[in-house]
Subunit: 193 residues, 2 copies
C-alpha cells in the first residue's frame, strides 16, 4: 500500500536496527483517515472470503481491525491482555511473549464471541516474531473457528513472524513489508496489497 | 441517542445494581456500524467547537474516539495504561483508580502529541466515578491544552462522575444516561444527544 509506505518513510522513526516507531500515526496517535484506508484495503483483499468476524488484540490492533470490520459489515472482537472483573464467563486463553516489553501476557476472548461457524480475519498493527498472531490463532482454534487469513499493517520481514505463520498454513497479507532498518532508513519489499 | 439505548436494553446485561455489561457490542466485541453512528453523533455535537484532537484511553475508548476523530477530521490520541519500551520520550502522566479493577494505573501520553494550541474532545465508553476522565483532563492540562468537552457513550448517572466533571467546568455529553440498574433492568434519563 503505497500511501502507507510513503507515510512510514516520512513520519516513522528508526530506533536501532529492529525498532520502527510509528507512534505519530498508528500506535499512539492515530491518523483516522489513513487508518480507514488501511481497513478498507484489508476488506477488499478479503471481500470474497466470507469473513464472519474480525479479531485483533488490544490496543494498537483495534483501529485497523475496526475499520476492516466496518467495511466487511461484521463484528470485531479484541482480545484482552488481562482479565477484568466483569469478564466472569468462560474464556478462551493463550500466552503471548512480547519481545518489546519482555513479558509474557495471558490473552483472552470470551468464548461466546467465537464459535465453530466463524471464519475469522485476524488483524494486527505489527508482525515481528509472530507471537501475538500465534496467540490469536490459538484462541480461534480453541473455539473451533477457521482463520481465513491475517492482515498486517507493518511487517518486519527480517524477523520470523511471516515464516512462522505460513508454516501454520495461514495466509498473511501485509500492507507494508520492511526488509531492513539499517543505517537509520526504512527499506521495503513489495507489499502484499 | 435512541438507537444506543435500544441496543443497551436489548443486549446489555445487568450484573447487580452497579455493573452494566455491554461486552457484546462496546467493550469486547464491537458493533462497528453502531460505533460509527456513535462517533458521528459526537462529531455533530462538537462540529462547531474547533476541536483539534480527540483524546481517549485504551482500550474500550478507542473505537468511539476513532470514529469521532474520523468525522471531525482530526488526529486521535489514546493514553496508555503502562509504559512501553519504545515510549522513551517525555511523557505526560497521571494516576487513575479503577473501581472495577481495584487498581491504580499510571496513564500517559507522549508530550509531543498534545500542546497548548490544542482544543481537545475527550471520549470514553463509560462515565462512572469519573476517574479516567479526570486523569485524561489532567494530561491535557499538563500540556496546556484546552478541554472543550467530554463525550461519553454510557453514563452511569447514579455515580459521581458527571458531578465531578461539571464541578471542574467541563461540558459532558452522554449518549445514554443510566439512572438505575435496580431489579435487573436498565432505566434511562434523557440523553444529552
Amino acid at each position: 500500500m503505497k500511501e502507507l509506505m510513503d507515510k512510514i518513510t516520512k513520519s516513522g522513526h528508526v530506533l536501532g536496527e529492529e525498532v520502527l516507531k510509528v507512534d505519530s500515526f498508528i500506535t499512539h496517535q492515530i491518523d483516522p483517515e489513513l487508518m480507514e484506508k488501511i481497513g478498507t484495503r484489508f476488506s477488499e483483499v478479503f471481500s470474497e472470503a466470507g469473513i464472519t468476524k474480525v479479531v485483533t488484540i488490544e490496543s494498537s490492533g483495534i483501529a485497523p481491525a475496526l475499520f476492516a470490520a466496518r467495511k466487511l459489515q461484521v463484528p470485531m472482537v479484541f482480545a484482552r491482555k488481562s482479565k477484568s472483573l466483569t469478564m466472569d464467563e468462560e474464556l478462551l486463553t493463550s500466552s503471548v511473549y512480547s519481545f518489546t516489553k519482555q513479558v509474557t501476557s495471558k490473552i483472552s476472548i470470551s468464548r461466546k464471541f467465537l464459535n465453530e461457524k466463524d471464519n475469522v480475519l485476524i488483524i494486527d498493527d505489527f508482525l515481528a516474531n509472530g507471537q501475538a498472531a500465534k496467540g490469536l490463532i490459538e484462541l480461534c482454534q480453541q473455539a473451533g473457528a477457521n482463520v481465513d487469513g491475517i492482515g498486517i499493517v507493518i511487517e518486519k520481514s527480517f524477523q520470523e513472524g511471516r515464516h512462522l505463520l505460513e508454516e501454520m498454513g495461514i495466509k498473511v497479507v501485509s500492507l507494508a513489508r520492511v526488509t531492513s532498518l539499517e543505517n537509520g532508513a526504512v527499506h521495503f519489499d513489495q507489499a502484499d496489497a
